[in-house]
Symmetry: C2
Subunit: 351 residues, 2 copies
């Protein structure tokens, strides 16, 4: 059993008002890298931020980490277009950061990454995968992908008040920029992702298609973005049992969820972590709702009989994070890269 975190970015997140996945818009590019680090290590390592919403709601990655500590599941992080270095180990499927969907071809890497992810799904020696995502701005690209496929389902938001009309406006501009009509990509999932999506959706869909072909039990752990990934997988012709595991917060926000799950032949599992303590009470106030595999992790916690321990374990994770800190220690920023050498005398001279 392994939880896969598909982590990437889209410039769409920088449109003001679109995403709550960062204390301010300049930091959302770091959120997926930091989320992956929190799940792997329990805290940010290379990333200079601890992701919180503008009002201080902690990232759902802390919940996923807490469940990892409680249950011991294995993790696999897929680089689906990370924009910033992460200290979390990742696999490469050829994805690159996505551009704003109001450009004509925001995700040129979508077809290749879909295929590479499908092959990973075909090759992984696992009985069961739970696949989650972290990509700020991802509900807007999910909405565009639904429309590209000719599907009418709505999407949720990490903000308490879903900026629905702003999203519709962005999506309309996206269709205009790519000079296509809603439904143009029905049964053409890679085209939908390439012209209207983000780099995470085709990777989730490709992994799902490959894993199902491979006989692996697949649960998509998340909200309407994972629903869009399921739609892509079904439009790619994947059959086989598929579960969508989400949080009660997300399910309350999207009354159409059960119908949508039916439409894509998904078993729906909704788990309520019962958060009451500050700052987790912000979830109960409708913030964040999902992300970083939280719904899938909660399903596993429930199955393994530790759901009641998740709140305390999450508070424990949060106690080692510092949501106020925007800068961390000497490893902050881009510790990777061949040019990272210091000024020591033994570097720059010849032999």
């Amino acid at each position: 059993m392994r939880v896969v975190l598909v982590a990437g970015t889209t410039e769409t997140a920088k449109i003001p008002g679109i995403s709550a996945a960062g204390a301010d818009p300049s930091l959302v590019g770091h959120t997926p890298s930091a989320d992956a680090e929190i799940i792997e290590y329990g805290e940010p390592v290379r990333s200079p931020v601890t992701p919180v919403s503008p009002t201080g709601c902690p990232t759902p990655a802390a919940v996923t980490r807490a469940v990892k500590q409680l249950t011991g599941f294995d993790v696999l992080t897929v680089d689906a277009g990370l924009a910033k270095p992460s200290a979390a180990p990742t696999i490469d499927v050829g994805a690159r950061p996505g551009r704003d969907i109001r450009e004509s071809e925001p995700v040129p890497t979508a077809p290749g990454a879909f295929e590479a992810a499908r092959r990973m799904g075909l090759a992984l020696p696992e009985d069961e995968l739970v696949i989650g995502e972290t990509v700020p701005g991802g509900t807007t690209t999910a909405l565009a992908v639904f429309r590209a496929l000719g599907e009418e389902f709505p999407v949720s938001s990490s903000l308490p008040d879903n900026p629905t009309s702003l999203k519709e406006e962005v999506v309309a501009e996206a269709f205009e920029a790519s000079d296509v009509e809603p439904g143009f990509a029905a049964h053409k999932p890679r085209r939908a992702a390439r012209y209207l999506g983000d780099p995470v959706l085709p990777v989730v869909a490709g992994l799902t298609v490959g894993a199902l072909e491979n006989g692996i039990d697949v649960t998509l752990g998340g909200g309407t973005q994972l629903l869009a990934a399921a739609a892509l997988a079904r439009h790619a012709g994947a059959d086989g049992d598929l579960t969508l595991a989400t949080t009660s917060y997300l399910a309350e926000d999207v009354p159409e969820l059960a119908d949508a799950a039916d439409a894509f032949d998904l078993e729906l599992t909704v788990t309520d972590p019962g958060f009451e303590t500050h700052p987790l009470d912000r979830y109960d106030a409708g913030e964040a709702k999902e992300g970083a595999g939280m719904g899938g992790a909660l399903m596993l916690a429930d199955r393994m009989g530790v759901l009641d321990d998740v709140e305390a374990a999450t508070l424990d994770v949060l106690s080692t994070l510092d949501p106020e800190a925007v800068e961390t220690g000497p490893a902050a920023a881009d510790a990777g890269g061949a040019d990272a050498g210091g000024a020591d005398a033994d570097i720059d001279d010849g032999p």
Copy 2:
């Protein structure tokens, strides 16, 4: 507690007679990628080979995997110049595959990778690290690095008969190609690695230096290559307690080991896994000896009281491997990369 596998390649391994880390020389480039997959998943995933020596001795990665299953340690694989795609998640420190040391500057990425690895060591939130390596040809580059630092210690070999005079010949050519003399890089570890080493050694050394600065307990799990990395770390000025944990097979092969450990102020731990059953009896016949963190893993197994279970657990890992298979399923070869897309109609057309 985390085991770090520093995995990379050097073209030096392609010199006939240098390395036993692959059934034949054309496959050694896959060995580090496959070793990382075996530790992470229990079997090769993207890699088309299961690493065995030409005589069928299985890779020490199977032993490290067995101990992971017995003890549950966390793993971090560092890409220190992998030449082939791996399905094991990795972190990037800017390393690239090393060229043959008989070229003038085989590892231009050494200084930057050393520094990036040092920053990782400074940032990792761990109490203890056990660092191992997988790099075919690595004892030859280790020998060259010893000489570059002005140190006289000998190196071991994955072959039962150490091709010592071939290695000395290659090292002499390497010094000639870089136009330097033994000892030229004393106290200049990055220069030693850049002009005479492989990409793995500076990453192990950088991680060690950073982790020691960070107050992390560091054990180098391996043989004379890890001894060379310790020499680099000491020549970089690192003090602090440092342990070298190796196998009884390696220690028997290198009588000078205790003196060398003394010289670099290393505590030496030697663990005998007591292998008797085929094909693990090949270790007792002097093959492989070390690698992929085996000595460090055995130390952990001993500490946690499961050393007696390692042989059976390793045979269990080997039972799911197929040492005869040179090709695996549809995920073989380069599943990664943006051009991996198939010929489906929805890929290549415009929108």
